[in-house]
Symmetry: C2
DNA sequence: CAAACACTTCGGCCAAGACGGTAGTGGTTC
DNA sequence: GAACCACTACCGTCTTGGCCGAAGTGTTTG
């Protein structure tokens, strides 16, 4: 009757590292097979099967059978939104290891976040748009100005997705940069445009995006963003046996500070 | 290095029913003592103490010592946002037991959601505002129109919280009604105004709000909302032996009188 | 048909952690 | 001072649930 128990059920589901890894991997909107998910989770296929069944039963994942394989994806944008929320808090968390994040330099630079762009580039774009008064952003919402609408029109970005009286811009707190980037229909349109015009490309088996030479030029001329691609171009996909038991004991003294 | 493990840590924390109940209880922005939280969680104080330490270490709760008691509250609005996300998905979940929710008729009708109103009334207000073109809402954002700004000015609702160029309206999916209500600065201003003018009152020890006769009249004239208060006016606070065990021993007379 | 493949079910092992009893610490009241 | 209260630390018990090996189902390939 209280919502408590219900949110506990969902949270407990996400609370297992293996399942959390699976969900993270699906955060970019792709659909992956059970075997692929077993790999990213770092568990045996039969273990993954159990996890996926639970996630499916709980309504977090949608399933599509195709021949002898089963494709999974997040059941809805609401699930992605929930995971975003968790990421933000998880990153916020105790100051202990905020930027311990060495690996994944490519990810930090540019990646997809469900249906829009995230990372340094995305934050830079958002900053620029705000600075030019093309969008208004705060922690509670976003809004495209008339100037912004013209800007996108000239650029050829397709905003038809949103009807004329619709609001369709929202901020999404970037978990690596800790600043907002553009999400919602506007964010999705930007990503779509960027992929369409070869500004960025998907990295295989990853949420990461690489900025192409064309992209570097366009970002500079269009948004005034200095292209500073990650130094390490290769950036191996760590096979990640991960699943390191969460044993690291956290010790904390001043966690009272109200960090708004 | 992947965010997976980190979100798993946070989610696992929320994934325990006792802790989830504590967090739920704090969702209205109040600050509660360890003993009160032990009660809502349905566990012994020493167990609660452990849970609270974990939540604090993880940065989900903020602590304020006062004499011999310790007051806890959510560490930031981001935590509330995360819990909102979980609630939405938890409610969405498997269709099997969607509206099994009999108890809590009062809660369904009107309640607080961190810093704004939720429930049937809040959804009705949001609907009305949209219908009158005072706000624009979709799943990704909200926006106050000029007409809406005038409306609130006339009504005497204080929107100063938000600077003039700021966006400050956002939708929040109501987990009982499954439709959006107003959150963000606008939502907070409405709740503040409603409490200030005795349209609604807090129910002791609960997130529930009761609409006063004044409120019924004002909601009708101002928003055109037919007051349909929950049939069962008394609606006992179920003492909820809930999570069994201890509970019965602890009897509370009147904690929580903390009337924000 | 047999073999390879994708995936699921079953069963037993094992560790994490939730629980409250007991025993403390520090703050408040009389 | 003593009594009392809110809260915390430690400890042993016990349940939950993640894990993989082995075996089974259904699908595609040769």
């Amino acid at each position: 009757m209280d919502p408590g128990p219900k949110i506990a059920q969902v949270a407990a589901l996400v609370g297992d590292p293996a399942r959390a890894n699976m969900l993270s991997a699906l955060m970019d909107g792709r659909t992956l097979t059970a075997t692929e998910l077993a790999y990213v989770a770092g568990v045996a296929p039969q273990t993954a099967s159990g996890h996926l069944a639970k996630l499916g039963d709980a309504g977090l994942l949608a399933l599509e059978k195709q021949g002898r394989r089963r494709y999974f994806r997040l059941a809805s944008p609401l699930v992605a939104r929930m995971l975003e929320g968790l990421m933000v808090v998880a990153q916020e968390g105790p100051a202990r290891q905020r930027n311990l994040w060495r690996g994944g330099e490519t990810l930090r630079h540019a990646r997809t976040c469900y249906d829009h762009m995230a990372g340094r580039i995305a934050v830079a774009i958002a900053d620029r748009m705000v600075q030019q008064s093309f969008v208004l952003l705060d922690e509670d919402g976003g809004q495209l100005t008339d100037a912004g609408r013209s800007f996108f029109d000239e650029l050829g970005v397709d905003l038809r997705l949103a009807s004329k009286r619709r609001v369709f811009c929202r901020p999404c707190l970037d978990w690596s940069e800790r600043r907002p980037h553009l999400a919602g229909a506007v964010g999705a349109a930007i990503l779509h445009h960027a992929l369409e015009h070869d500004w960025v490309e998907h990295v295989r088996d990853s949420r990461a995006l690489v900025v192409t030479p064309v992209g570097v030029r366009e970002l500079a001329t269009t948004f005034g963003i200095e292209g500073t691609p990650p130094k390490d171009g290769r950036e191996e996909q760590v096979p990640s046996p991960s699943r390191g038991r969460v044993s690291d004991r956290i010790r904390f003294s001043q966690w009272g500070a109200h960090r708004q």
